[in-house]
C-alpha cells in the first residue's frame, strides 16, 4: 500500500452527498489559502490515514477532513472559503 499519491474528489463523492444532500463533485469550491476555484472532483483526497484528508489541488492546503468517530462522521472544514450549491 503506498500513500504517496492521492485519489480524486470522486473518492469523497458519497461523503459530500451526505453533507450537502446532493451530488457535489462537479460543484465549484474556493480554497481559502490560495484562492483557487475548482470543482470538488479535482481535490486531492488522501484516504490511507486515520481519516480522509482533502487538499486543494492547487496549493495542497488541507480544505476538509472527515474522521469516523464512534457515532458517525466528524467533518472539519478547514481552508474551504466557499462551496457552490447547484440550483
Amino acid at each position: 500500500m503506498n500513500s504517496d499519491t492521492h485519489l480524486d474528489g470522486n473518492a469523497i463523492g458519497s461523503l459530500l452527498s451526505d453533507l450537502f444532500g446532493r451530488e457535489m463533485t462537479n460543484q465549484r469550491a474556493c480554497c481559502d489559502a490560495c484562492g483557487a476555484i475548482n470543482p470538488l472532483g479535482m481535490a486531492r483526497v488522501y484516504v490511507d490515514a486515520p481519516g480522509d484528508v482533502v487538499r486543494c489541488s492547487n496549493c495542497g492546503t488541507v480544505v476538509l477532513v472527515a474522521v469516523a468517530v464512534p457515532n458517525g462522521v466528524r467533518v472539519s472544514f478547514r481552508a474551504l472559503r466557499w462551496v457552490e450549491l447547484p440550483d
Binding site: T5, H6, S17, M24, T25, Q27, V47
Partner: protein, 250 residues
Amino acid sequence: MERAAVRGRLNWLEAEVVELVQEAPRVKTIVFEVPGWIGHLPGQHVDIRLTAEDGYQAQRSYSIANANGSKRVALTVEAVENGEVSPYLVSELVVGDRIELRGPIGGYFVWEPSKGGPLQLIAGGSGLVPLMAMVRSQTGVSAATPTRLLASARSWEELIYRDELEKSSVDLGSFEVVYTLTRSQPPGWTGYSRRIDQDLLGDSTWPIEDKPLTFICGPTGFVETAAAIMLELGHQPGRIKTERFGPSGG
C-alpha cells in the same frame, strides 16, 4: 446531469445478482438488479457494502460498467491478490446472492453525448470500466460522438471487453481503439507493447487542435503519467478529467 442529482442522503439499497460474466482470468462482470435505482450516468460509481455474520463490515467503491436504461447496475471487478472484498465478489457470488449498494456517486467524472466531443478515453487496466460505460452510452444514438480509446493492459488475455470493443469499432460511426499490451503480446502482434509515453499518446490520441474532452482512469501511477503527458502535449487542463483508482481496490 440533473437526473443524477440526488436529493437527500444516499441510502443503502438491496442489490441482487442476476448475471455473472467472466471477462478475463481474474475479472468478472456482476449484474445486479436494484429495486429503487434512480438511474445513472456514464462515469459514475457505487459504494458496495458487505456484512459478515459476526457483524464485520467492509465497503468499497466500483465504477458502473453499463450505460443507463434499466434498474440494472453492472460492475466489472478485478480480484486483487490478498484483497478482502474483490476476491469475494469475483469468486464467491452466485446468481441470487444479495449485497448492499448505494449511488450513483460522482458528477465530475461523467460524460454523456450532450457534453460533446470529440471524446478521448485513456484506460489503464480496469480503469476501462467507467470509460466503457461512456462508449456503451453511444450505441443506438443516431449521431455518435467521435471517440478514440487508448487501453493499456498487461496482456491480450487480460484486456477486458475485447470482443465488444472490436465490434464497436466496426459498428459505431467514429470509434477508434488502440491497445498497448505492456507485459506480453500474442504471436504476430503489431500493436504497441510498452507502457504509455509521450510518443505513444501523441500518435494515438486526438490532436490538440480538435480540443477533445479527455477522461483518464486507472491505477494512480498510470493516471498521473497519462495526465502529465496530455498536458505536455498541449491539451487544456480544464478538458482533462481523471479518476484514480488508488493502489488497489482491495
